[in-house]
């Protein structure tokens, strides 16, 4: 792992692209404990405040003809409600508040993380793993409470020929337990990868200062690349929030209707 001084001495990156994901205390340089205020907790609090601003303050007017903020809040509400109803079914609407919370938290954390100098809370597997484990536990508990032992029918594919079923059951069990892993790593990996790529190009951007000859080509190219990738990252931030929630709905559908 290249340290800062080593990188600068060899003419490589002056800062490490993964430095932006370091958890630091907000005040002072002490060790990070459970109750330390860090940049993670700061940006999480900002996320919650932003959601509060949109949903509570934005809709406080309760106008019949909505203002712009109110209609954004209503659009988000309608969008998620329709998604839950379409994917998880009518009885999945009990979980609508939970899924709406998940969607808004991930969406706002992703988008706030795109601000320059911001910290992307969802780029840490520790954060997304908790979200994914909660979904996994909810789905498993709901599945057993609603269907009892019938939930195990999810693993027993009754439409397949009988000799094939044990093998399929093994595959289904493995894929069931891989769900929280892929669910959390997909979000964290996407956020982390995009931000690291931006930082790598950001390290090439001051090339014009270091060596003007090659820098005349490299600097405009890397600034163009940063802008393009940034636009892509805005798209990815929204799509990953959408994907996380729709997969939650798909898993919930499995718990509510386990029969193939």
């Amino acid at each position: 792992m290249a340290t800062e001084a080593q990188g600068a001495a060899e003419g490589g990156l002056v800062f490490h692209p993964m430095d932006q994901f370091m958890v630091k205390p907000l005040f002072g340089d002490g060790a990070v404990g459970i109750f330390t205020l860090t940049n993670v907790t700061f940006w999480m609090a900002l996320t919650v405040l932003a959601i509060f601003g949109l949903l509570v303050l934005g809709t406080s007017g309760r106008a019949t003809i909505p203002t712009r903020t109110q209609s954004i809040a209503e659009l988000a509400y309608d969008f998620i409600r329709k998604m839950v109803e379409d994917v998880a079914g009518k009885d999945g609407l009990v979980f609508f508040p939970y899924i709406m919370t998940l969607f808004l938290f991930i969406l706002f954390a992703n988008i706030l993380g795109l601000l320059p100098m911001a910290f992307t809370t969802t780029s840490h597997i520790a954060v997304t793993a908790v979200l994914a484990m909660l979904v996994f536990l909810t789905v498993t508990i709901v599945g057993f409470v609603k269907n009892g032992a019938g939930f195990l029918g999810l693993f027993w594919v009754s439409s397949a020929p009988l000799p094939l079923r044990p093998i399929l059951a093994l595959i289904e069990v493995i894929s069931y337990f891989v769900r929280p892993v892929s669910h959390s790593i997909r979000l964290a990996g996407n956020m982390m990868a995009g931000h690291a790529v931006i930082k790598v190009f950001a390290a090439f951007a001051p090339m014009i200062v270091i060596s003007t000859g090659i820098g005349l080509v490299v600097t405009p190219l890397s600034i163009l690349a940063i802008s393009t990738i940034y636009a892509l990252e805005v798209l990815v931030a929204c799509i990953q929030a959408y994907v996380f929630t729709i997969l939650t709905c798909v898993y919930l559908k499995d718990a509510l209707h386990p029969h193939h």
Binding site: M1, M18, M83, G189, A193, Y242, I246, L247
Partner: protein, 78 residues
Amino acid sequence: MEGDIVQMGAYIGAGLACTGMGGAALGVGHVAGNFLAGALRNPSAAGGQTATLFIGIAFAEALGIFSFLVALLLMFAV
């Protein structure tokens, strides 16, 4: 040039792990391309299938992210 052979192996492994992302790229392109081909044949049915499209893309992409994760683990955790 300094360092030990374990570190060299980790770096080579991280580079090799990145080839897995090519597979994910093929998979995502396959999903999106087939969706477009189907959508152009029956545009009226395409709107209702965008959720399926994104689920398919997400599953294909997850495996590429796994290889990225392996590369990161080799770089920073080994």
